[in-house]
């Protein structure tokens, strides 16, 4: 809202730049909103997964759920439904709504100066939505191993699920740094956490001014990377839930981290 005050002035200056830069700059607030909402959904998903099975063990309601003829696999898959389907759908709807509101505000602000049409001329809305949807779907698929790991911790740790989820990875990073002075594992982790778009989109050199490199509509989905995505799905993420205070480690296959470091040149 505040940034809308100087908008007509900035828009005039912008029209002097080349087309790509114009589009990137006009898109900026839309991208920022999308990323904020997606990050929120990601965080909600993370904390939901951490608590999904642990909470049931803590309040012992696991004894009620387990008294019904529902297999552990079904239970775990139903927990995955929230971060993998429900949250992304909500996020997508929220992104579309927010962008519509931004569009309305900027149009109202630009209307007196007669520049409102430039937004519509430069911004390919339908294409943006499709690419956002594609980005959401790929990032969800990309993060399945994360949710799988969190559910595993949730099914196993007695307390401090967050620390159990984070510390082992951190420890590996530190040991690698100390022992070999390299950061391959940290890179791998980073790519798993936030690297979905690198894999999903051909990253083109960033036009100056486009601070947020996500969901730019002038990127195209890269054809050779996309079909690999379903491989991530191939792992089974069945957590056998651990009863009561039994300390036994549940036999959960750890989804293998995709060994695909960026093979692209």
């Amino acid at each position: 809202m505040i940034s809308a005050i100087g908008l007509p002035h900035r828009r005039r200056a912008l029209l002097l730049l080349d087309l790509n830069q114009q589009q990137a700059t006009i898109e900026q607030p839309y991208d920022a909103a999308a990323i904020a909402l997606l990050l929120t959904a990601f965080l909600v998903g993370i904390f939901y997964c951490l608590d999904a099975l642990h909470g049931e063990r803590r309040d012992r309601s696991i004894l009620f759920w387990k008294s019904l003829p529902v297999s552990d696999l079904t239970t775990v898959l139903s927990k995955l439904l929230l971060p993998l389907a429900i949250l992304p759908l909500i996020a997508f709807a929220a992104i579309e709504m927010t962008q519509l509101v931004i569009l309305l505000i900027s149009t109202v602000v630009l209307l007196p100066s007669g520049l409102a049409a430039t937004t519509f001329a430069r911004l390919p809305f339908f294409q943006m939505s499709v690419i956002q949807l594609y980005g959401i779907i790929t990032s969800v698929l990309w993060s399945i191993p994360i949710y799988g790991w969190l559910l595993l911790v949730s099914s196993w740790a007695r307390r401090a699920t967050f620390l159990w989820a984070v510390l082992p990875w951190l420890a590996i990073c530190i040991v690698e740094k100390l022992a070999f002075n390299t950061a391959h594992f940290a890179q791998l982790l980073g790519s798993r956490l936030f690297g979905s778009e690198e894999v999903a989109f051909d990253i083109v050199p960033q036009p100056k001014g486009a601070l947020i490199p996500m969901f730019d509509s002038h990127r195209s989905p890269c054809s050779d990377e996309v079909p690999k995505q379903p491989r991530i799905m191939a792992g089974t993420y069945c957590c056998r839930r651990v009863p009561r205070c039994d300390g036994a480690v549940a036999p959960i296959p750890r989804p293998a981290m995709s060994h695909r470091l960026h093979s692209r040149s």
């Binding site: 049931e56 309040d59 012992r60 309601s61 696991i62 004894l63 009620f64 387990k66 008294s67 019904l68 003829p69 529902v70 297999s71 552990d72 079904t74 009863p243 009561r244 039994d246 300390g247 036994a248």
Partner: protein, 291 residues
Amino acid sequence: MACIEARGLRKTFGETIALDGIDLEVAEGRILGLIGPNGAGKTTALDAILGLTPYEGQLRVLGRDPWTDRDQLMRDVSFIADVAVLPRWLRVSQALDYVAGVHPRFDRAKAEGFLARTEIKLKSKVRQLSKGMVTQLHLALVMAIDAKLLILDEPTLGLDLLYRKQFYDSLLNDYFDRGRTIVVTTHQVEEIQDVLTDLMFIDRGRIVLACSMEEFETRYLEVMVNPEQLDAARALHPLHERPVFGRSVLLFDQIEREQLAALGEVRKPGIADLFVAMMSHKTAQPEGAKK
């Protein structure tokens, strides 16, 4: 076919032996009381039977391996655990919906019928209900399931006298028939004495007594003995002796009633009396070594 069949059932938690190779057989249509002190292994045994924990040894419940077949087994088995375990955020109507959705043998009308007799409203959340009401709700859900085996682990813990009485009454009158089997553990032994058909004492992971209630009633007798006859009574090797108002009550195993009648007033012991006798008898020997 036996409802529950265990051979050498064993479970350890690190150094602690929770179940020390027990053999167990519960026939269909029985009501078994599993009695033992805290930490005796009752809950571990029930967990194994319910497929909540892995174990060593052989175990078959209704012909299935509970650990690998839990979800299938739960079509025929219901259980209520020692404390109210219904999720607190759940509404009563949601609980009905969910169980109706996942359980093929759940009779929703029946459950609603049970609930209509209580103060529980369908719109309430579990967290708004009192402890007694949560147990009533759980019982209503469980009794509406046409299960072959019902397992109750301290079902009346923390409930007041009125609810406890109601609980067992409705269990017997509305639920139990010869086709069903019930296994119940409790510390309130007296209130299930008339309910049980079979009795089992468990201590330190071992079964120390397993008998039917008929057997229990014929085997064990208690005699109130005056001090002057005490030595004669002790000669018959009582299981246990306790002083009551200047006289002594002695508990005997397999001694003729006539023989005991000569010593004093003979009466039937309660399960609690036998339990105390056997447990203090058991702990008497290793006490010096341990403490």
